[in-house]
Structure formats: structure tokens, C-alpha cells
């Protein structure tokens, strides 16, 4: 089997996954959800939305520390609260670059399945392929991926070293 090279693997901090399912006439669900999170300044490291036979499934991850806030925010909107399912203790494994490679997708998905690693959600983007996995299994998943892909020599899987949060308070040196 030909080797596929990748430039990097990125491992996220611990996150909480929330999934919302809705029927065909729920086109306002995603805007309402995003609006609620934006209003509460909750960052979304992962967001995907899929539509199958008219129904909608939204998958979103937020920082684990914001799980309680997320539940509180969604509980204020009955249509969101009744559809939300939470899974704590997940994390993201991101492979890049993706560049629409079906080989990269197929091989990585097969490797994760062969290692009995549950995939809660996945999404491809312009530059990356991201899997939502059990947070405690991320190192194992990264090891599995490195067996079937060639990672460039000067790169190692890296974890997020910082979290940028939103706020309205100005830095002391920028206040008027």
C-alpha cells in the first residue's frame, strides 16, 4: 500500500460534545443554536451540520470547562433544550493537510475502527480532517494514525497549549 504523507497531527484539550437532532422543518435550529452560543461568548472548536433525508444533525464541541454554561444557555430555549444530547470527555484529533483526499479519510477511518476507537463525529474542512474521539483515547488514536501515515520528520503530534477565551473587559493599557 502506498504511503500517504501528512504534515501534522493536532490534539485538542478536553471538550464536551453536544448534538442536536431535528426534523425537516427545523431550518432555524442551527442559527438559533449559534446565536445562543455567540451571545454567551462560548467558543466552538468543532461544529458540523449534516442533513439526511431532510432531518438535521448538529454536532458541536465546547471547552469542558464551559459545559455547565452551555447547558444553562440551551435550557433557556425549549426547542434547543429538548433536542440536545451531551457527551462529556471528548477531544479532537486533527490531521492536516486534508486537501480533499479520500485516501486520507478512508485510511484513517479504517485505522481508528480497527483499533476499536469510537468516532463520535467527524468533519473535513479546507485544510484538515478532524475526528471527535474519547478524550482518554486521543494518544492511542494519534499512535494508530502514525502507523499508517508518514508524518514529516520535523513534526510531532502536538497538544493545544493555550485556550483563547472571549471577554468584554479591555486590557488595562487599552482603556480610555
Amino acid at each position: 500500500m502506498a504511503t500517504i504523507g501528512i504534515k501534522g497531527l493536532k490534539i485538542s484539550a478536553e471538550l464536551c460534545l453536544v448534538r442536536l437532532r431535528a426534523g425537516p422543518r427545523s431550518s432555524g435550529l442551527l442559527p438559533a443554536f449559534c446565536s445562543r452560543l455567540a451571545g454567551s461568548q462560548i467558543n466552538m472548536p468543532f461544529l458540523s451540520a449534516e442533513s439526511q433525508t431532510g432531518s438535521i444533525l448538529v454536532s458541536c464541541c465546547v471547552d469542558a470547562a464551559q459545559q455547565a454554561l452551555l447547558k444553562k444557555v440551551l435550557s433557556a430555549e425549549p426547542v434547543l433544550q429538548e433536542r440536545a444530547e451531551y457527551t462529556a470527555g471528548v477531544g479532537l484529533l486533527t490531521l492536516f493537510p486534508h486537501q480533499s483526499s479520500l485516501g486520507l479519510f478512508g485510511r484513517s477511518l479504517r485505522a481508528l475502527a480497527a483499533a476499536d476507537l469510537r468516532v463520535f463525529a467527524m468533519a473535513s474542512s479546507i485544510g484538515a480532517l478532524t475526528y471527535v474521539l474519547d478524550y482518554t483515547q486521543l494518544n492511542k488514536a494519534a499512535a494508530v494514525i502514525q502507523v499508517c501515515f508518514e508524518l514529516v520528520s520535523n513534526h510531532a503530534p502536538f497538544r493545544a497549549e493555550f485556550t483563547v477565551t472571549q471577554g468584554t473587559q479591555l486590557r488595562p493599557d487599552r482603556r480610555d
Binding site: F96, I126, A128, V164, G167
Partner: protein
């Protein structure tokens, strides 16, 4: 339009690297990519770009460190460095707020989130 200028885009967010690279390539620039400060140093030595678009917050070696190393190296100090910084006015508490970006030796700054039209203006102004 073609351009023989090589620009190295460095960020640990692969989507940002890809979208900025696509815009630069559409304007005729040659583009190289790196995903952290250590990898970027290797690419600089290999390819000697005319410009760096460099994120601040990256693993292994952050943008401030890399910028200052470049600007203190006689062989590479002429490379134009544009720092991408999300440490904006409304983000007061990050690892890097102890060090204001303006004390670095960067040639210019591009605020995050990036406006690609603004980025192109800054790139062209600095080449």
C-alpha cells in the same frame, strides 16, 4: 499575474494556513507552509522566503521567539515578518499578554480574525 516572491505562511491552524495560502496564490505569489515555529525555521533555511506571515500563539516555538531569532540573525534579518495576532483589545488574558507584540522586531501586524483583503493590502505594502 505571476510573482517570484516567496511567502511562508506559519500557523498551527491548518485551515487558516490553507485559506491565506490560496488567497496569496490567487494573487500570483509563491507560497510555502509551516505549522509551528520549529518547522518554520527549517523552511526558512531551506527556501529563504522574502516574507513571513507568522502566527503568535503556536506550539514548540511561538511567533515572538521566532520573529526575534530571525531579526537577530544576520543571514535572515532582511526577511519581512508580519505577525498574526489574536491578542486583541478584547482578549485580555492569554499566555502572551505579558509581552506586547509591539515590542518585537516584526515589520507589521495583522489582527485576527483575518480580513483577507486587509491582509493583501498589508502584504503588498511591505514587499
Amino acid at each position: 499575474m505571476s510573482n517570484d516572491k516567496l511567502i511562508l505562511v506559519v500557523d498551527d491552524d491548518p485551515d487558516l494556513v490553507e485559506s491565506v495560502s490560496m488567497r496569496l496564490e490567487s494573487e500570483g505569489f509563491q507560497v510555502a507552509k509551516a505549522y509551528d515555529g520549529v518547522e518554520a525555521w527549517d523552511r526558512i533555511k531551506d527556501a529563504r522566503p522574502q516574507m513571513l506571515i507568522l502566527d503568535v500563539m503556536m506550539p514548540r516555538k511561538n511567533g515572538y521567539e521566532l520573529c526575534n531569532e530571525i531579526k537577530n540573525d544576520l543571514n535572515f534579518k532582511d526577511i519581512t515578518v508580519l505577525l498574526l495576532t489574536a491578542v486583541a483589545d478584547a482578549i485580555p488574558y492569554t499566555t502572551y499578554t505579558h509581552m506586547d507584540g509591539k515590542t518585537t522586531l516584526a515589520d507589521d501586524f495583522i489582527p485576527k480574525p483575518i480580513d483577507l483583503d486587509n491582509l493583501m493590502e498589508i502584504v503588498k505594502d511591505n514587499l
